[in-house]
Amino acid sequence: MTTFALARLGAPEAPAATAPECDLPARALRGDVAAWNALISRHNHRVVVALLARGVPVSRARDVAQDAWLKLIEQQRAGKLAELRLPSLAITQAIFLSIDAARRDLRERAVMSSSPADAADPRDLADERMLSDERLRVAERVLSRCTPNARRVFELAYAGDGLSHAEIAARVGLSTQRVRQIVCEVRKLLRDALAGAFA
């Protein structure tokens, strides 16, 4: 029986870091279990955080993320997955499942009671926009004051593939410790500049 790495993954420097990222989606699309495990290890936490950001309770977020991965694997096995852009595809799938669950909740509450006031609104879950243009401009001003290397480190940590600190260190020629420090500093600057927007 095939086992996927769907349990919580521990430290940030996950074992998946050793697999070449560019090969993984192609291998997963061919049904390679090890590639799926590596992709899940790498991206699952971002799926969970995306759900938390949309108000999905932490107790449920992990299960929904797990279901999303299983759906993707099912689709791949059924030959319905032409490409695998991660983590966005897994996040979209997870949000879709959450919306579905929230709608079911609403229907059940409507049956049970005439005032479903505390049910989650599926439209909130679908809201992709986490940052206004104004906040984005504030963030851009902060980043424009960082050195090119610091900015690149931040991009590598948060954009696209979501590399581990060790992978970023290897790519930019700094120590893992220094990368961690830079990510921390840029994050603090951005958080301070955006204070209040996410309280």
Binding site: G10, A139, C146, T147, N149, A150, G160, Q181, L189, A195
Partner: protein, 132 residues
């Protein structure tokens, strides 16, 4: 732990995937039962997702700038000072190494960007998960 609320640093470390498995489990267990910490965890997650949007926009902007630089240098290629100009436009900045600065400007110059700070706090991944 159950009587105290989670530290914000712990919530941020959780969403940044910087906690050990056991510490993450403690955060999940507490946030699963405490509405206040659950809402703070959601806020920390929103900020983390915003960082992703910021990084994607930054990367897209840099790619755009690089594209414009490439087009500009292609135009210069028609002239006499081709090589020198292209070098000036396209040469990457030198890596300053381990001791390099993170920021171009002195801290005071960041004042305008960070004037909206209302509630700043120190990030400390090694901080205890909860206050007694």
């Amino acid at each position: 732990m159950s009587a105290a609320h989670l530290l914000r640093a712990s919530l941020e470390a959780y969403v940044a995937f910087e906690l050990t498995e056991s510490d993450a489990a403690l955060v999940e267990a507490h946030a699963g039962e405490c509405a206040l910490c659950a809402s703070r965890l959601a806020a920390a997650a929103r900020l983390e997702v915003a960082f992703e949007a910021i990084a994607n926009a930054s990367e897209a902007g840099r790619r755009g700038r690089r594209g414009r630089s490439a087009r500009a240098s292609a135009a210069l290629c028609a002239g006499v000072a081709v090589a020198a100009s292209a070098m000036l436009l396209l040469a990457p900045r030198s890596h300053a190494g381990e001791g390099e600065r993170t920021f171009e400007a002195p801290a005071s110059a960041l004042a305008d960007a960070t004037s909206a700070v209302s509630d700043s706090y120190a990030f400390d991944a090694a901080a205890p998960l909860a206050r007694d």
